[in-house]
């Protein structure tokens, strides 16, 4: 008796989930389909969903229309985004994990105070320092390094590393010490290799946030040669008349790297996001 009921329930579950998932995926579907359609068919009501006249023309057009000094080059936008994300992620992993270790696992006077300062700084969102930073670094506008520099040291990342390091038993460090390893060797040869999960989740979360970063580039960048992808997308979609096929193709090219990372490291992705809140 209960087997039929559970079957019915199961089918109902799948039905509800499928309908919801479909509705939820519609905007993304529209993006991918539209990027393959002629521009005048993208914005044409429900028929924008019809898979007609599909081709990669928009993609080739993106590369050919973004191909001069004045418009900037597509690979330059991509390069800036990749470079900035790479510097912020790798630099951040090194700097923040070291800070977390130095502040919370080594014993020295002042460590507690400094760590409290870090925790307090976590309360200050980037938005509330954007204006003074814009003023302070006005001479560095339109440079690539200023896009990355303010985001390498990150209080939240330090905190995330700390919550992971906290669970490592001190006996491991004691043993390393007895073997004559100093704090640096202990950290790089023993602590780092056993902390891969937290490195992965911090890296992914940092990359995700950095890849979509918009406010800081808006303030600091006007020159197309150092423009990251999200800023270029906003410039591209503001041109009159907008070429929707190309804009959506540009959007797909922009989200593709994140989607690939997401597909490859899905477990870390979801864990990283969840751990940021639940374990943190």
């Amino acid at each position: 008796m209960s087997t039929t009921r559970t079957t019915v329930r199961r089918v109902a579950d799948y039905a509800v989930l499928s309908v919801l998932a479909f509705l939820f995926a519609l905007p993304a579907l529209y993006l991918f389909l539209g990027s393959l359609k002629p521009s005048d068919e993208v914005l044409s009501g429900l028929s924008g969903f019809l898979p007609t006249n599909l081709s990669f023309d928009n993609y080739t057009a993106v590369f050919s229309s973004l191909n001069s000094e004045s418009t900037g080059y597509f690979w330059q936008f991509m390069g800036v985004s990749v470079l900035v994300a790479f510097v912020v992620v790798t630099g951040g992993l090194v700097v923040n994990s070291m800070a977390a270790y130095g502040l919370t696992r080594l014993k020295w006077r002042g460590q507690g105070t400094l760590f409290t300062v870090v925790v307090l700084l976590m309360l200050i969102p980037f938005e509330s320092v954007a204006v003074p930073l814009f003023y302070m670094f006005n001479g560095q506008r339109n440079t690539v390094y200023i896009l990355a520099l303010p985001f390498i040291a990150n209080a939240f990342a330090i905190y995330q590393f700390h919550t992971f390091f906290r669970k490592i038993p001190p006996s491991i460090e004691e043993a390393a010490r007895l073997d004559g390893a100093g704090p640096w060797r202990t950290f790089f040869a023993i602590i780092v290799p056993m902390s891969k999960p937290v490195f992965a989740s911090v890296a992914i979360l940092t990359f995700l946030i950095q890849w979509g970063s918009f406010l800081w580039p808006v303030l600091m960048i006007s020159d197309p040669s150092v423009r990251p992808l999200p800023l270029e997308l906003s410039v591209f979609q503001g041109q009159q008349p907008p070429d929707w096929g190309q804009i959506l193709a540009f959007g797909v090219l922009m989200v593709l790297p994140v989607l690939i990372v997401f597909a490859l490291f899905q477990r870390w992705f979801v864990q990283g996001v969840a751990s940021a809140a639940v374990k943190g």
């Binding site: 579950d13 799948y14 919801l20 998932a21 939820f24 905007p27 529209y30 993006l31 993208v42 914005l43 009501g45 429900l46 924008g48 090194v94 700097v95 070291m98 800070a99 977390a100 130095g102 502040l103 080594l106 014993k107 020295w108 006077r109 002042g110 400094l114 300062v117 925790v119 700084l121 309360l123 969102p125 938005e127 509330s128 320092v129 204006v131 003074p132 930073l133 814009f134 003023y135 985001f151 040291a153 704090p183 640096w184 979509g212 918009f214 406010l215 303030l219 999200p230 800023l231 997308l233 906003s234 979609q237 503001g238 804009i247 994140v258 899905q266 979801v270 809140a277 374990k279 943190g280």
Partner: protein, 329 residues
């Protein structure tokens, strides 16, 4: 008294416990030895934070008391509280600014309950042992990886005015041609609702994943016991699920409300290119950026930023207060 995220996010206070050192002999030498290593290791991180968060933050407070303009030959002059007075009483400035505050409040008041509720519903739906459940989970999480700039562009097309907008076209089909074209972004009554919808679409997966992790920490035997007691599904939700994830739920609500005060990207992009009604959707951050960037008025923009920060902090404090009685059971 732990007020926020019980059993989860450890309050920073806990960390400040004095370093317990059972062996007193080597303590002094070790402290000495670790001092330089500790300082060196934390120097880049702490230095970076001080340079790019601490100092700019203090600088924002200082700048807000000065009349500073970018590219102006005039020396910055002390302005006292004038910027703040203007923000709240000068009709030219206070109009848009108070509107921005109100918009932020409206946004938060709608998004926090709706997005948290939706995320909870999705998390409960997805917290089952079904085949391919992982696939469904990633479906709902997917928009989180979309940069907000792109989300804004996609929804600009969906909500486009005229017959060719996706939503208008769908409504037209459903109503057998009785639905005329409507300018969702450009009309002051629906502009904010549009921003709300696209923001929830992008963000709900994030909250869902956090809540899902919270749900999975509820021991299964609690549900078993409830079922033995013939508790209905609703009773199970009410007496097992809700108490089990209350901490996570509070955390998510807090996170969402702070995030909803930081709204900027989608408003900026859609006002600039998408015909979004500016007055109905301007946010505090939008005001800060336009004041600093378009009007070069750094002092005034800093005052906006300081008010923004005070609101975020007040929000955190108030929410902790509101939540407190709940947690003392």
């Amino acid at each position: 008294m732990r007020t926020l995220e019980p059993a989860h996010s450890a309050p920073p206070r806990r960390e400040k416990a004095p370093p317990a050192t059972p062996e007193k002999r080597s303590k002094a030498t070790r402290r000495n030895r670790d001092r330089w290593h500790g300082l060196l290791m934390s120097a880049p991180g702490v230095g970076g934070l001080i340079a790019f968060v601490g100092i700019p933050f203090c600088y924002a407070v200082v700048l807000s008391f000065y009349n500073v303009r970018l590219g102006s030959p005039a020396e910055p002059s002390f302005f006292g509280l004038e910027h703040y007075r203007r923000l709240f009483t000068d009709p030219d400035l206070s109009g848009p600014f108070l509107r921005a505050l109100l918009n932020n409040l409206t946004f938060a008041a709608v998004v926090v309950p709706v997005q948290t509720g939706l995320a909870l519903a999705l998390a409960i739906l997805l917290n089952r042992k079904l085949k391919a459940i992982g696939l469904f989970r990633s479906f709902f999480f997917m928009p989180v990886v979309f940069p907000m700039a792109l989300v804004a562009v996609i929804w600009r097309l969906i909500l486009a005015r005229g017959e060719e907008g996706m939503l208008n076209s769908a409504l037209n089909a459903v109503s057998f041609g009785n639905w005329g074209a409507f300018d969702w972004l450009g009309d002051a009554t629906t502009a904010m609702a549009s921003i709300v919808v696209l923001s929830i679409w992008q963000g709900v997966g994030f909250q869902m994943v956090i809540l899902l992790a919270g749900l999975q920490q509820i021991p299964g035997d609690l549900y078993e016991a409830a079922r033995l007691d013939r508790a209905s599904r609703w009773q199970q939700f009410r007496h097992v699920t809700l108490p089990g994830i209350r901490g996570t739920l509070v955390f998510v609500a807090l996170l969402t409300s702070v995030l909803s005060f930081r709204v900027f990207d989608q408003v900026y992009i859609l006002v600039r290119g998408g015909g979004l009604d500016e007055d109905a959707t301007r946010t505090v951050m939008y005001q800060a950026v336009t004041t600093a960037f378009d009007q070069n008025n750094i002092g005034q923009a800093s005052a906006v930023t300081v008010v923004f920060f005070l609101i975020v902090v007040a929000l955190t404090v108030v929410q902790r207060r509101v939540v407190r009685p709940d947690n003392e059971d």
